[in-house]
């Protein structure tokens, strides 16, 4: 482990201490801290070729395959009733799952970021859990709770409530899979911002709700937006977990990804890729909103940094 020793001997992250209290202005990279031009272009080239092969080509293939037999065939694939019911079910699922996880994400981030309490590390780990559980295992868990032979199976059957192989199961599986997205986005953000502004608001007489609405929310809005759109993209696109609980009933319990699977397995390539292209468009819109949100939040940070300091910096 000699490399660890090398690193710990070097004062990473403490430039101010090393230069006696004030950081020197950032210098542009100069000779010695960058590579020769040809090395740079070689590395850029290899990286871009890799991204072209693994990201751009698959994305392009979706649209090319969908339009292979022309625009009419493409639209026909989207116009069939099963496609419509899949789109409707996907939208319903997202409309329920995303707000549920939004409320949870904000509540969890508030509790974890604003207070110190015992078991916080464990709680944070548990919130991460759905990220590392296979979607198939997630679906199976719900089958074991709500399925015909599950814990609540007999009771649900007696009351004529269907959860597994029905819409509620699909929503539950989606909620599980997208559970951590918004919380994980907000927790580090709210931790980094600290409590000062909220405490000032409360001391000045604001209620908890006013404090959240007028102080916290404006500070976290871009991170919140990013969490929501990522959660939404995953909710609309989830396949494994939903596949286990859906039962694949055409026109009733098929979401867009399941509809894509059925068409693909029936060799209806154009229709499958037409439905897939909707999800690919959703992914592109998600990335666009994410980029804009990052840019906006950087702008605001810069604007805040440009304000004069409230107290003089004592060296």
């Amino acid at each position: 482990m000699s490399h660890v020793d090398t690193a710990s001997a070097l004062p990473t992250g403490t430039p101010a201490a090393a230069t006696g209290g004030h950081t020197p202005p950032r210098r542009r990279a100069k000779a010695g801290t960058t590579e020769a031009r040809w090395v740079q272009w070689l590395l850029i080239g290899v990286a871009l070729v890799f991204l072209l092969l693994f990201l751009v080509l698959p994305l392009a293939a979706v649209f090319t395959e969908a339009l292979r037999k022309g625009l009419d065939a493409y639209l026909a694939g989207l116009r069939e009733p099963d496609a419509w019911s899949a789109i409707r079910l996907t939208l319903i699922t997202a409309v329920i799952a995303v707000p549920l996880n939004l409320v949870f994400g904000v509540a969890a981030a508030w509790a974890i970021a604003k207070y110190e309490f015992k078991g916080k590390a464990l709680l944070t780990t548990l919130i991460d859990l759905p990220f590392s559980i296979s979607p198939v295992v997630a679906g199976l868990m719900y089958v074991l709770v709500f399925g015909a032979n599950g814990w609540f199976g007999p009771w649900l059957a007696a009351h004529d409530i269907k959860i597994i192989f029905a819409v509620p199961g699909i929503v539950l599986a989606t909620v599980f899979v997208t559970f951590p997205f918004i919380a994980r986005e907000l927790i580090p953000l709210m931790q980094a911002q600290g409590n000062d502004e909220e405490q000032a608001a409360v001391v000045l007489g604001a209620s908890g709700w006013q404090t959240f609405w007028h102080v916290t929310l404006p500070n976290i809005k871009w991170g919140l937006l990013y969490g929501v759109i990522l959660c939404n993209a995953r909710a609309m696109g989830e396949f494994g977990a939903v596949s286990v609980v859906s039962g694949h009933i055409r026109g009733q319990t098929n979401t867009i990804p399941l509809h894509v699977e059925i068409l693909y397995n029936e060799y209806q390539s154009v229709a499958a890729f037409a439905a897939a292209s909707l999800l690919a468009l959703l992914a592109l819109v998600t990335l666009l909103i994410k980029t804009v949100a990052e840019w906006k939040s950087e702008q605001e940070l810069k604007a805040a940094a440009a304000l004069p300091p409230e107290r003089p910096n004592t060296p």
Binding site: V4, T6, L10, T12, G13, A29, G32, T33, E35, L43, I44, V46, A47, F50, L51, F54, L55, L57, P58, L59, E65, A107, W110, F117, L123, L126, D128, L129, F131, S132, I133, S134, V136, V137, L140, V143, L144, L172, V175, F176, E185, P188, A192, G194, Q199, V202, T211, L230, A233, R234, F239, G240, S243, P257, F273, A276, A280, A283, L287, K290
Partner: protein, 288 residues
């Protein structure tokens, strides 16, 4: 994604001052929701395994076909995570250190595997690599087959895991101090020596975290893999598909046994990732 925030230092620890209202409400709701959505279903899985005897459980998780699926799932995930380690570092490096036209677009595109549904990735990679696909048609005459066998699984898992390494390494690379490199240069070090002895040690924790995340994600992946794998028993059948197969035969106990094995591995990976992230924070001189 979530790790982006690691670049910003958390605030110094203060004495707990509960001036802010809402602690009971938010923590209570968090625990309630966590229990309903995650903990109760999780315990159903654990309790279901108790309906099996130890011999039945062992027989279910150690059948030759299941063992072959572990080998495939872990082997393919490991290879894919290794490829992502190298190319993820390269992409993060190029994005942080160099300027080139279209850099913003490339940076945004790296997140595509997070946003693109796995089933879409699966059918489109299959369409590219199958014998009549854009890429497959050139490789097949050379005797290289990338779809419908374990090669295809590795490629799908590379796609799925790539952003984890890039997004974990990128912020750490942005924070590395140029002064150290200048000092090393003035002491006569070559660029390669500086990379291996100054830069690489400082990003090792982030690299390993990204690797572990990509690996953990790959082990559980289902949607993108089943289209491209061919799904032949003993050859290209991944462990999640074994669970699906048992469910389709109404073998709930058998499916649960294999699921518990996957769950234990998920827990282990989660602990490894947590430990790596703690190491990374210490490394960066932040409070854990």
């Amino acid at each position: 994604m979530t790790t982006l925030a690691l670049g910003t230092a958390p605030p110094p620890k203060r004495a707990p001052k509960r001036v802010l209202p809402g602690f009971g409400l938010t923590l209570g709701y968090t625990l309630f929701y966590l229990s309903v959505i995650v903990l109760v279903p999780l315990s159903a899985l654990v309790f279901k395994t108790f309906s099996l005897t130890w011999e039945q459980f062992w027989a279910a998780i150690s059948a030759p076909r299941v063992l072959a699926s572990y080998r495939l799932t872990f082997g393919a995930s490991f290879i894919a995570a290794c490829v992502n380690l190298v190319f993820g570092l390269l992409i993060a490096w190029v994005l942080v250190r160099y300027q080139f036209p279209g850099k913003k677009v490339v940076d945004a595109l790296v997140d595509l595997p997070f946003a693109l549904p796995t089933a879409v990735a699966g059918i489109s990679l299959t369409a590219l690599l199958a014998g009549n696909g854009w890429i497959g048609q050139y490789l097949e005459p050379m005797g290289i087959q990338l779809a419908f066998n374990p090669n295809g699984i590795v490629i799908a898992l590379i796609f799925i895991g790539l952003p984890f390494v890039v997004r974990t390494v990128q912020p750490v690379l942005e924070d590395t101090e140029k002064e150290l490199e200048e000092a090393a240069t003035s002491l006569g070090a070559t660029r390669w020596q500086i990379f291996t002895q100054v830069i690489l040690p400082s990003i090792t924790p982030a690299l390993l975290t990204g690797f572990a995340m990509a690996f953990a994600r790959a082990v559980g992946e289902y949607g993108s893999v089943i289209f491209i794998a061919g799904n032949m028993p003993m050859v290209s059948e991944i462990t999640p598909l074994i669970i699906i197969g048992k469910l389709e035969q109404y073998d709930y106990a058998g499916a649960t046994a294999v699921a518990v094995v996957m769950l234990v591995i998920s827990f282990v990976m989660l602990l490894v990732i947590n430990a790596l992230q703690a190491w990374q924070r210490r490394h960066a001189g932040m409070p854990a």
